[in-house]
């Protein structure tokens, strides 16, 4: 059952990611990207991380995709008719196949070490995933959390300044 769900969702994720790169209309690419994000949220649920699935849908499929679709419609882009020259296409296909081969080799070359940490399935089901994330974030990672908030503030100010007509 788990394997069927995994392979089905993986097929949908790979196909929609491929169509992100292949669609001529940017809006179609954006909608395929939403499908990829939803499939990844399914994987996060299968990995017993429901909080990550929730923020994947809210932040990525909600906020970021709304921003991207908004900009696509604001710029009123047409279909892309120009494509890159064919030997460029061949080179980039070769390069990405090389990336795939290297990463596959690295995955198959060794085993993940340190198996048997303290966060097991029983711990997650007794405490709840959100509580564990909150404890880790606000106790061990408090300073990076505050730095992230400053980063978001800087990004907001930067976006406002950049999109003003004259500064």
């Amino acid at each position: 059952m788990e394997a069927i769900l995994f392979y089905l969702t993986a097929t949908v994720a790979i196909l929609s990611a491929f169509f992100v790169t292949k669609c001529r209309n940017p809006v179609n690419s954006a909608l395929n990207l939403v499908t990829t994000f939803l499939c990844l949220a399914v994987f996060y649920v299968m990995l017993e991380s429901p909080f990550m699935a929730a923020i994947q849908i809210m932040v990525y499929a909600g906020a970021i995709m709304v921003l991207i679709v908004f900009v696509i419609m604001l710029l009123n882009l047409g279909l892309t008719v120009k494509t890159r020259y064919s030997h460029g296409l061949a080179t980039s296909g070769f390069l990405s196949a090389l990336v795939l081969l290297i990463t596959t080799y690295m995955v198959r070359a060794g085993e993940a070490t340190g198996i048997g940490g303290d966060v097991t399935s029983e711990v997650i089901s007794s405490y709840g995933h959100t509580e564990l994330i909150g404890k880790a974030m606000f106790v061990d990672f408090l300073l990076p959390f505050e730095i992230a908030s400053i980063l978001l503030l800087v990004a907001i100010v930067g976006a406002v300044i950049l999109s003003k007509r004259e500064v």
Binding site: A3, A10, A13, F43, S49, I64, V71, G117, G158, L162
Partner: protein, 100 residues
């Protein structure tokens, strides 16, 4: 039985699809979306290995990757709007104003 290797292979495939899109497309927004696919494949690796190892730190990393992606989306799309306003195009081949 689905092991951590399945998830890592899947995210390797997604990462290479994203690389292919970044290298082949000309539209800057589509390139941006392909970068999002690459970021998400890395997030999948982080969560799968975090569950496999039994440690919460990888999922905190995913949280920060999402924060950086949101900041990147805001600033990058503002840059694209500013560029489109100047040159009426969003092809990466037209991004050559810093050449001398």
């Amino acid at each position: 039985m689905i092991t951590v290797n399945h998830y890592m292979l899947l995210s390797a495939i997604l990462f290479s699809i994203g690389t292919f899109g970044v290298l082949t497309r000309k539209n800057a927004i589509v390139i941006f979306m392909c970068i999002e696919v690459m970021l998400n494949s890395v997030n999948l690796t982080f969560i799968a290995v975090s569950r496999h190892v039994g440690n919460m730190d990888g999922q905190i990393f995913v949280f920060f990757v999402m924060t950086v992606a949101a900041a990147e989306a805001a600033v990058g799309l503002a840059l694209m709007i500013a560029f489109f306003r100047n040159s009426d195009s969003i092809d990466v081949d037209d991004f050559n104003m810093l050449k001398w």
